[in-house]
Symmetry: C2
Subunit: 213 residues, 2 copies
């Protein structure tokens, strides 16, 4: 039985799982939920994931959600083409990057987006935006200082698949609203890292559908 993958376009957590599925070359059926229409809060989906959030998976008849739990599950269920390094300390670094970016980096990105891209009233308060940019810069330099090689935990891992979509959100904000200078927060090491991910053979097909328009 193939995996069913519930995906929301633009959700960095959904993107991470998509990259993981593609990296492992697993067959899956993609179900795209419209977050704009709130499909993730409808009874049909709540019966799969009562949190009402994307992503979720169904595999072997079981529903699995929370993106960090999903990628760990995929790694154990389908160990080929690993998502974690072999070395125990590198594994700990990969998992730490996942936990920290979910907790701190995503909050910082989200805070900025809520003052900019996610507003329907034209634009947020300048002082709020400046504060959000400053918080994000602090967070980003923590990761940039930790990037010593091509990837965050040695070989390509779930740490990279977690971080990349969050960085891509910043790049997208910059493309849409360059006046905030958010793109300047992504220094040369990040730019090179992002390029590495974007050159993966399966990258293009995981690009958020509604960003292509």
């Amino acid at each position: 039985m193939a995996i069913t993958f519930y995906y929301g376009s633009g959700s960095p957590f959904s993107w991470k799982v998509w990259l993981a599925l593609e990296h492992k070359q697993l067959p899956y059926e993609l179900k795209v939920l419209s977050l704009q229409q709130g499909e993730q809060k409808k009874p049909e989906y709540l019966s799969i994931n009562p949190r009402g959030k994307v992503p979720a998976l169904i595999d072997d008849g079981c529903a699995i959600w929370d993106s960090a739990a999903i990628v760990e599950y995929l790694e154990e269920r389908y160990p080929e083409r690993p998502l974690l390094p072999r070395d125990l300390h590198q594994r700990a670094i990969a998992r730490r990057v996942v936990a920290e970016s979910n907790q701190y980096l995503y909050s910082a990105v989200r805070r900025l987006l809520e003052q900019t891209l996610l507003r329907t009233d034209g634009g947020g308060d300048g002082a709020e935006i400046a504060l959000a940019l400053k918080g994000l810069q602090r967070e980003l330099s923590y990761y940039e200082n930790a990037l010593h090689g091509d990837y965050f935990a040695g070989p390509l891992s779930l740490a990279d698949f977690t971080l990349y979509p969050m960085l891509a959100l910043i790049k997208r904000l910059h493309d849409k609203q360059p006046q905030h200078g958010a793109g300047m927060l992504l220094g040369p090491r990040f730019a090179a890292f992002m390029q590495r991910i974007e050159q993966l053979p399966y990258f293009a097909q995981t690009f958020p559908p509604h960003w292509k328009a």
Copy 2:
């Protein structure tokens, strides 16, 4: 070389790791940091964990932090007396409970504590406290509905060691400031679950030292 364990009294994330170390019967050297005195932000500790947060571990000469990464590391490095179920789907549930409680439950608990126990000015705004209680109640019922057996993911696991300290914070708030009724949010299933954890042979020695006073 024994494990060095950097601990902060009252930190639910530190408590989780302490329970995990005791569960696995591992030898460790306990280093208690005073959070009140901000010892986790001092250069000596920042050279171990640049995030300036507890807990952290040093094992085999490597510093590991973020409590979720630490418990996964302990599980792989010292597989005896497991912290994760054997079944793949139960493992996914355990990891999901960890991720969700770190993200949502802890935020809800923290929000309430910031309006109550953590205030030095006597007490927060009544409406804010009511909102925080309501948010916490919603979060708690999600977990209580998911508790079908003795523990959250089948056998005793890192899910339980993650949740228990957060529930204990609610209990402590109730003991100190019963007027908010926070203890009422812990229904009979939670009460029975907490008792199970409190009866573990190693529980008492992990009780936060400054709570004993």
